[in-house]
Symmetry: C2
Subunit: 210 residues, 2 copies
Amino acid sequence: MITLYDCATAPSPRRARIFLAEKGIAHASVPVDLRSGEQLGVAYRQINPQCTVPALRTDEGMLLTDNAGIAAYLEARFPEPPLLGETPAEKADIASWNWRMEFEGLLAVAEALRNSAPAMANRALPGAVNYPQIPALAERGLARVGQFFDTLNERLAGRNFIAADRFSVADITAVVALDFARIVKRKPGEQHPHLLRWRVAMALRPSMSL
Amino acid sequence: MITLYDCATAPSPRRARIFLAEKGIAHASVPVDLRSGEQLGVAYRQINPQCTVPALRTDEGMLLTDNAGIAAYLEARFPEPPLLGETPAEKADIASWNWRMEFEGLLAVAEALRNSAPAMANRALPGAVNYPQIPALAERGLARVGQFFDTLNERLAGRNFIAADRFSVADITAVVALDFARIVKRKPGEQHPHLLRWRVAMALRPSMSL
């Protein structure tokens, strides 16, 4: 049985949850309490020395410790429905936009949050090593989140999906990044009509309530 | 004819050059002079509004503007030799390590360089938008580069390749990140024997002189 080490309140494991749901893959879930620091404790460190969620244990026993590995594995093992594209052009468009959603969206919000939240002092980066907060980086993160909304809005003018004219992992990463931005009190407004329309359409997919 | 918009001195286009060479794909190259800011000029902006290299024009006319899209496209169009893996387990291992080499290696060096070099004032991030330098981020980048060497060295103990027991895009990204670190005066030392052995072996591949 595939097992997902998960946390209901964090953005990265949500990407894996939605991906699994869109593929319709049966799996077990094990909650990891990030608020109490369970990911840094001895027990979880033995499961995943990187101290991060999501982690996915395959039914062959391999442990995948990030969304890049999880998506590549699940797409190859369970090709239908395709979430990484079918043709070379689709695969390229989806890989590129997924990367941008991660770098320009998720990372920007994470920079803003992790470098400012009192509860995350010394946790400016995820993982086993502690890094102190950099206030100027929190500020830059917020500026980049605004830029991310503008980029998405422009991209979605006349489109129903972020990439390749079909639902893909790029939409999943974009939804997760967009919703994650609420934690730093940023959300799209009336100047982002295409983005808001797309988000309403995405909400019709049952996976997006996960 | 596939065309690569390239820059001989920058790490990101080098990843695309090596990938093309390992696949043996004939292509044209157009140099873009990053030192004079050609990527921000009107002419290049019309080719790639994101103002970054590499950019790859496919023979069907599609423009791919980052290594994520370029690797996905080339692997699908020219499957041999595979650089992203063949089995689900290989694809997962390679995608995960490639992502780590990018996030923990390339980004760490870029943070250290772009937030300290006088020539990169206001160019703390690549792309069309200017962001001021953050000195503390340069310092953190250097700490992360040291961590990156340690991670790679540990990973390569008893291995010839970063992922999946075969040469892959993860090795390409790792070589490029490692060599890029010289620009911030960091290189692995005698405490990194596995990393040094692997780098010597990688140097035997003609693509790595590109």
